[in-house]
Amino acid sequence: MMQLDEIQKRLLYEVADLHAVPEGAYNIRSNSQSAGRRSTENIEIVSKTDVSGLEIHIKPGTKNESVHIPVVMTESGLKEVVYNDFYIGEDADVVIVAGCGIDNCGNQDSQHDGIHRFFVEKNARVKYVEKHYGSGDGKGKRILNPVTEVYQKENSSVTMEMVQIKGVDDTERTTKAELDKGAKLVVRERLMTHGDQRAISVYEVELNGKASSADVVSRSVARDDSYQKFDAKIIGNAECTGHTECDSIIMDNGRILAVPGLEANCIDASLVHEAAIGKIAGDQLIKLMTLGLTEAEAEEQIINGFLR
């Protein structure tokens, strides 16, 4: 594996909990180059030839294996678009850990746009974890615009955890999913913005097959002068159940716009949207203060729990 410096190692740890080379299949991308790759018997990682990116082929029936594909960027001014396609075979059960960490100490913007497509075959189960993290005190912005597309065949199940807690200045996340019969999608998004950061998260989920279901839940905190938009649309084209939820805390001058979108095109579609935005509950602060915490410490505990 290519030598990584301390900053790159720290970023790797932040986005993928990695101290060392992960077990199983992996590809580590550092400053637009591959810093290490391993395929396994069941999981093959190959570079795309036409554009920058990877194809990840997971054999049918692969069980309890994982793929790590973290990206770290430490050069200011780097802009890249990366296309990663995941082919997940029938009956496979895998964990995929992606994530991007940018350290920008320079004055030019650094930007990583990852376009991820998941082709999930029948009965396959995928847990996808994606963390975004930024650091560095240069004037250059840290920009991440992930696009995720999920195509789920019959009875497949996808759980996505998307976390962006710190240091990303500007993000526009788009997630699209199409679900066949009996397929299930669960999304848990955790987001915190501060300073004058901006984060936009758009979901469009089409429930096309009978008994398909989607549950998209975002918990977010907007502090300082930051702005967030949560725009979640579920389209029910069959007998299905869909639920979206935006649960947000605003602090300081933070602003949040939650846009509910439900479209039922079938009499048996059952769709629910919930949204709640407000400041930290006063009684929660008071309770923790009676346990000896200062107001600031109490806030921190409440936010930490909320974003867990």
Binding site: L291, G305, F306
Partner: protein, 248 residues
């Protein structure tokens, strides 16, 4: 020792002044368990909130171990050793029972220690330690966790606001034991319990009766309890069974 001197608490309701606590003076000595009782709306919870710093007195003084704490913040009072179990426990999102006990104890406690606090309030610790303190817990479970957080703090003045409310008849016996043990191990601390239950009043050293924001009566248990039996301020066990341990 806690001393209240001419404590008043007035709020403004639709432009009119409403006196909720009216000129209360009393003291709670060390090594004593004091019960506060009286009709609904009498001002018991408000008095506890004034002591814990959640509400601030309109006039009068609160002296704790010789220190004037009348204008102190909630946090500073907590740090001085005042603990408060709420009548209505607060729910959180994402904060677990273990988190709350860890915060309460003020140090890095082990899971085993946290479990001991839960066992002491009659909860089977393993089932609860990693649960979130949210609406998925029943009212009685939340109440017990609330009591456990105060026990975990090891405070020198502990306030319990109707700890028995929402706790079923079977567990109630258990709870009485919890408070009896607390009374035994009081060691230089004091305990204030707001309650309507005769069984709780009967383990207190002193009883304070609050009515319409005023101190109606105060004295030792033997002086006060007989006059309360049969009134709504001292619900007996069988009556309590009928309302499933709840008040109001």
């Amino acid at each position: 020792m806690l001393e209240l001197k001419n404590l008043c608490f007035t709020v403004n309701v639709d432009g009119k002044e409403k006196n909720i606590i009216k000129n209360i003076s009393l003291s709670v000595p060390d090594n004593k368990m004091v019960a506060v009782t009286g009709p609904n709306g009498g001002g018991k919870s408000t008095l506890a909130k004034l002591i814990a710093g959640i509400e601030h007195a309109s006039s009068g003084k609160i002296i704790y171990n010789g220190v004037d704490i009348t204008d102190m913040s909630i946090t500073d009072r907590a740090k001085l050793g005042i603990g408060f179990a709420f009548q209505q426990p607060v729910k959180f999102k994402g904060i677990t029972v273990f988190d709350l006990l860890r915060i309460a104890s003020g140090k890095r406690i082990s899971v085993k220690e946290a479990c001991e606090y839960l066992s002491s309030v009659g909860l089977c610790a393993r089932d609860y330690i990693n649960r979130e303190v949210n609406a998925s817990l029943s009212g009685g479970e939340l109440k017990r966790i609330e009591i456990a957080t105060v026990i975990a703090r090891g405070t020198s003045l502990s306030l319990f606001d109707e700890p028995e409310a929402g706790i079923d008849l079977w567990s109630f016996k258990n709870l009485i034991e919890v408070f009896r043990r607390m009374r035994e191990m009081i060691k230089d601390s004091s305990i204030i319990i707001i309650s309507h239950q005769e069984r709780i009043l009967s383990i207190a050293d002193e009883i304070i009766v609050l009515k319409d924001g005023e101190l109606d009566r105060t004295g030792t248990r033997d002086e006060i309890l007989p006059s309360l039996i049969g009134t709504s301020s001292a619900v007996t066990d069988c009556k309590m069974g009928a309302v499933n341990g709840g008040e109001e």
